[in-house]
């Protein structure tokens, strides 16, 4: 009796969770169709940048005041290997220049953009606007580890 009840419980949990998921997607879709109020420009999207930490594995965090030069050096290496096909440190190229990025994006947003670009350009208001501004050039997911992304962020602080 007890053994039978387990699968039933599991199946019903599955149905519930799946059903919940479906209705959420429906809601998102409904929003898309109705065009819920959404920033119309990058400037509008950037207004609340200080509280926008992006979507992805990284939660909001504060950087230590001191720049870790060892970490930054390893970040530079990663950046040069993985990012320079589309980014130039000091000028707009295929994508935007990382110089001064910490004065317009939060550390978590930057790392989430590196680690989770597909979802970011679909859902994050700033990332969505950037995608349009840069003519739909996608931000490539280079599959960096969180440690690598953190080191790249440290390198950006040196620019």
């Amino acid at each position: 009796m007890r053994l039978i009840s387990i699968p039933i419980l599991l199946v019903s949990t599955f149905l519930l969770s799946c059903g919940g998921g479906q209705s959420q997607i429906d809601k998102i879709k409904a929003q898309q169709v109705k065009k819920a109020p959404e920033p119309k420009s990058l400037a509008e999207a950037e207004k609340n940048w200080e509280s926008d930490h992006g979507i992805g594995p990284i939660k909001a965090f504060t950087l230590p005041t001191e720049i870790d030069q060892v970490l930054a050096a390893s970040g530079k290496e990663t950046y040069e290997a993985m990012c320079t096909a589309c980014h130039k440190a000091e000028e707009k190229f295929i994508g935007p220049a990382p110089k001064g990025i910490l004065s317009r994006r939060t550390p978590a947003w930057i790392m989430n953009m590196i680690l989770n670009p597909d979802e970011m350009v679909k859902k994050n208001p700033i990332a969505k606007q950037l995608l349009m501004k840069f003519n739909g050039s996608p931000m490539a997911n280079q599959n960096l580890t969180e440690d690598q992304a953190r080191s790249v962020l440290e390198y950006f602080r040196t620019l």
Partner: protein
């Protein structure tokens, strides 16, 4: 017992949870969808879908709604599997002004039309890389003609057909110096020119001919459509890179807010040709056509082309601005609406044919480029579909007043109303659709029951097969108010555009075999009495036949090292689906598949003395394994005479 149940339960739970996490879970098949695509064993599909192969260079044929692959038609790529491009009969199909080019990148399928509807006679498709257009005969599903287009580079914008198959319109993707010359690349603006090409089609035979070319500014010409019904006689061609960049186009060709749509009055162009207002230029291109009687491809070298220059031919070409780097431009079934899909814009621009004509009549022009008037954007504009999605690429129509557009970046298909420009429905695709096709969607009478989106990204849709994955197509039911996803199916190569046609328009015309009495091949053997071996110096011709289950002759002696042996194999069968194959050990080219009633020739150069086996490669019958023979090769200086036969007592010699 108890233990195994305890293990099974969590496993079951895990399976269910992982199923739940699969992307597109909201699109899970319902019983209805499964029924809608189920074609019972032995039943026929309702629709033929002809998909381009992209980098495969071929065309694939799918049945809809089942999504079953029915056949791959070899077009621009040589196929060792059946000898296409390797056999003596078909190798001339690959002749170009660059020599033999064994591959191409095929993008856009166009079916022949009569009075604005598909007539099921021929299929045309472009070769992008070495500019060519091919014709496939839909009674045999074989490529019968390839025409090279001179002085263009990247024939992406091709081969768009007019409503009575008068012309195939094409244009250069990459402008280049014409005639070709050695100039610095950064002299692009001075030296590079574009061409829009009109290829005529013979109404009886389907044979193509390059009729004339229009010299255009050095932009990139991307896609085209011809007017239909009220707009018949006009062509619409999108351009990008009106910035005329020559490097890092992804940035430098995306600077302007608007590029241009070229609008061409081809009936006017015909008048100028008739008046002799063209320049004849010497050039070089190849025209390869299958001779129907012999089934041998004949290659002709052409040297002349007729050029029209817009500045000398007023009223022939106009431009109108389109936001932003437009990709597809699609004409509604009524011929009234021309949809510009600005791929870097979030909006969809719709022009009105009537308004364009009015603007032209009133000379409502803003500018002029190389003598081509630029129509005022607002004057030709019918309306804008505002922000339906990101990255619109292509639009097709259902004939009920609706348009369906693929959005590459936001990965969806959007249905909108042509008149009100309101979005009616949107469905995600998996992932990032390029073209879409609705059966008959390009014609004046779309069939409008299904929509197939051809996706550029596959990722997790099927069992993984390593880094390289098949592309994916998705079938939607569009008969109701909302689009309904019915089916995913993997495709071959990279289908760009496809066209789909009611099966009934083709089924009755399909040939089942080639009548042997009509075989006019000079090396055919129409019965076993005609089989023989003939030597002409180093050339040896084997007149061989195949019928279940033997090749005749099957023992041949007297070949010598250094000979060039031609095996001319005639399939004597006169029944449906009895091909025979021919392969010989050490052949450096390919094998042959020979259809009933057909003759095909494989060249073989014996390299060393010995006895070499040949055999039928298509499992034709219960005694297929016995369908084989031997070729004896002697030293070059040997005096062994040619001798051949089927059975020892029937050996013949020269």
């Amino acid at each position: 017992m108890k233990l195994s149940t305890r293990i099974a339960v969590p496993i079951l739970g895990l399976c269910l949870i992982s199923a739940c996490q699969k992307s597109g879970v909201d699109q899970v098949m319902t019983g209805d969808a499964a029924n809608a695509v189920y074609v019972a064993p032995g039943e026929y599909d309702e629709i033929y879908a002809f998909m381009s192969g992209g980098y495969s260079g071929q065309v694939t044929v799918y049945g809809l709604p089942s999504g079953r692959l029915l056949r791959e038609i070899p077009v621009f790529s040589k196929v060792a599997e059946n000898g296409y491009g390797y056999s003596e009969e078909t190798k001339a199909m690959f002749n170009t002004s660059y020599g033999e080019v064994p591959w191409d990148d095929s993008h856009h399928v166009e079916l022949s039309q009569t009075k604005g509807e598909f007539d099921g006679r021929w299929l045309f498709i472009n070769g992008n890389n070495t500019p060519r257009i091919a014709r496939v005969d839909l009674s045999t599903f074989e490529t019968v003609e390839i025409l090279e287009i001179p002085d263009v580079a990247g024939l992406h914008c091709a081969p768009f057909i007019t409503q009575n198959s008068e012309y195939l319109v094409s244009a250069t993707r990459f402008s280049v110096p014409i005639p070709q010359k050695d100039v610095p690349i950064d002299s692009y603006k001075e030296n590079f020119t574009g061409l829009i090409n009109y290829v005529s089609i013979d109404a009886e035979s389907g044979e193509m001919a390059l009729d004339f070319q229009i010299e255009m500014p050095g932009f990139n010409y991307d896609l085209a459509r011809n007017g239909k019904a009220k707009s018949h006689g006009w062509s619409f061609v999108t351009t990008y890179n009106s910035e005329q960049a020559h490097s890092l186009l992804e940035v430098n060709a995306s600077q302007k807010d608007k590029d241009l749509l070229a609008i061409i009055n081809w009936k006017k162009a015909e008048e100028y040709i008739a008046q002799g207002k063209f320049k004849e230029r010497t050039t070089s291109y190849f025209h390869n056509v299958t001779n129907e009687a012999t089934s041998i491809v004949e290659s002709r070298k052409e040297t002349k082309t007729r050029i029209l220059t817009p500045s000398e031919c007023p009223g022939m070409v106009y431009f109108i601005p389109v936001p932003k780097s437009p990709h597809g431009c699609d004409v509604s079934p009524s011929g009234e609406y021309i949809v510009g899909n600005g791929k870097l814009s979030a909006d969809q621009t719709v022009f009105s044919f009537d308004k364009l004509m009015e603007a032209i009549a009133n000379e409502n022009f803003d500018d002029e480029i190389d003598g081509i008037p630029v129509i005022n954007f607002e004057a030709g504009l019918d309306g804008i579909v505002e922000q339906p999605g990101l990255g619109p690429l292509h639009t097709e129509f259902d004939g009920k007043g609706n348009a369906y557009t693929t959005y590459f970046i936001s990965s969806e298909v959007v249905k909108w109303d042509l008149k009100s420009k309101q979005v009616l429905d949107r469905q995600p695709t998996f992932y990032s659709p390029g073209h879409l096709v609705i059966p008959g969607g390009e014609t004046t009478k779309p069939y409008g029951k299904y929509l197939v989106a051809m996706n550029k990204i596959t990722k997790d849709r099927y069992l993984p097969t390593g880094p390289e994955l098949a592309h994916s197509a998705q079938l939607f039911d569009i008969s109701g108010d909302k689009m309904k996803l019915l089916l995913d199916f993997p495709t071959k190569g990279e289908p760009h555009y496809a066209q789909a046609i009611e099966a009934s328009k083709i089924v009755s015309k399909v040939k089942k075999f080639y009548p042997i009495e009509e075989n006019g091949h000079p090396y055919s053997a129409k019965n076993e009495k005609e089989t023989r071996v003939e030597r002409k110096g180093k050339e040896v011709h084997v007149y061989m036949t195949a019928i279940r289950s033997h090749l005749a002759p099957d023992n041949i002696e007297g070949f010598k090292v250094g000979d060039e042996v031609y095996f001319h194999l005639t399939n004597l069968e006169q029944d449906w689906d009895v091909p025979h194959g021919f392969a010989i050990q050490g052949a450096n080219n390919a094998e042959l598949l020979v259809m009933p009633g057909q003759t095909r020739t494989l060249k073989w150069k014996p390299q060393k003395p010995g006895v070499f086996a040949f055999y039928c490669t298509d499992f034709c019958s219960a005694l297929h394994q016995e369908m084989s023979g031997y070729a004896r090769v002697s030293a070059a200086n040997s005096d062994i005479k040619l001798k051949w036969g089927l059975n020892d007592d029937e050996l013949r010699s020269e």
